[in-house]
């Protein structure tokens, strides 16, 4: 077999393996999302298609609550822009993890795979993230995400509240598993994470700011804290020719 084919096969398997825990967490979260989608009047098929192509927990949550509230189309677009603005930052960050010379089509496809978790595992690849890895992790997790939403629409009302609550923290556990190892090996990341926890906690109870949607707070805090961190503790330029 061609060595490149062997490599690609390895990347697909690796992406699949890393994608499975994400997929299970997605199923749980999407299930609780499906309960909201059902209240908005979505059928299981529409919920599956919507979740398969949108792949955004906060974004979909916003869309379904707006649908339930009979909101205008413009509000849907505005809400998606604000709540998902972090994907813009993530996509910009991911662009730096794609090997030079990678085709235009691969760049676009990898960008459309961006979710918090797929982005998290993709940027963890060194030195560059292979497209096949991102695709296989995104495919398996998206299938579970869409199925979870459809299952929630069909069977959501049947689960007791304590099980739904327990399932809903799976996502946050995954976030912690993504941010803590780099924080352990890079002190500056640790400072940024601690600052994020503290400021995010304060903003949730502070006057005025606490009235913003959590999506807006996420964007404002992300830009602010990352900019201050980049200004105070810039990364060492590895390749100084630029």
């Amino acid at each position: 077999m061609h060595p490149e084919t062997v490599m690609r096969r390895k990347e697909i398997m690796q992406g699949f393996r890393d994608g499975i825990p994400i997929a299970l967490g997605y199923f749980a979260v999407a299930f609780s999302l499906g309960i909201i989608a059902k209240q908005a009047g979505l059928s299981a098929v529409i919920g599956f298609v919507s979740s398969f192509f949108t792949r955004a927990s906060a974004g979909e949550y916003g869309v379904y609550t707006l649908v339930a509230a009979q909101a205008a189309y413009a509000e849907i677009v505005a809400m998606c822009l604000v709540v998902n603005l972090r994907y813009m930052l993530m996509s910009a960050a991911l662009s730096q993890k794609i090997a030079p010379g990678t085709s235009w089509l691969h760049r676009v496809l990898m960008a459309s795979c961006v979710t918090d978790e797929i982005f998290g595992i993709s940027i963890a690849r060194q030195p560059y993230c292979p497209p096949a890895y991102t695709y296989s992790a995104a495919l398996i997790s998206t299938l579970f995400w869409a199925s979870g939403c459809a299952a929630g629409i069909v069977a959501g009302g049947m689960l007791p509240a304590n099980i739904v609550a327990a399932l809903s923290v799976a996502l946050y556990g995954m976030f912690l598993a993504i941010i803590m190892p780099p924080a352990r090996s890079d002190r500056n990341v640790l400072y940024a994470v601690v600052a994020s926890f503290v400021l995010s906690g304060l903003c949730a109870v502070a006057p005025v700011v606490s009235g913003w949607s959590s999506g807006t707070r996420t964007i404002v805090l992300t830009i602010l804290i990352s900019a201050v961190a980049a200004w105070l503790k810039p990364i060492k330029s590895v390749e100084a020719h630029g």
């Binding site: 946050y172 556990g173 598993a177 941010i179």
Partner: protein, 102 residues
């Protein structure tokens, strides 16, 4: 809402969310040389995930106590590099046990 309006809303959500993902990738060609921008993009993922985790994790559970303990144990487990699935499972189990039996 009738079915047609729901489908239009869903399509708008799909188009907007994916454009947000793809546009930066099309605008940024090659490696960024500016040190500040590179540093900024380096910190973005960790900061945004941290901001989304706290305080939401203690607000989604039935009691703040279960979310707080899941957060602390989750941080310890993640610090020890237990991996995505084990950390998520530990957090779920803690919340289930505390919310059900405390």
């Amino acid at each position: 809402m009738d079915n047609r309006s729901i489908i239009i809303c869903i399509l708008l959500g799909i188009i907007t969310t994916n454009l947000i993902r793809v546009v930066p990738m099309l605008l940024i060609k090659g490696q960024i040389s500016n040190r500040f921008v590179r540093s900024f993009l380096y910190y973005v993922p960790y900061v945004t995930l941290a901001v989304m985790t706290f305080p939401s994790i203690i607000q989604t559970t039935l009691t703040p106590l279960s979310g707080t303990i899941a957060l602390i144990i989750g941080i310890i487990a993640a610090w020890r590099r237990l991996g995505l699935f084990p950390v998520a499972a530990i957090c779920c189990a803690i919340v289930y046990l505390i919310d059900s039996f405390c």
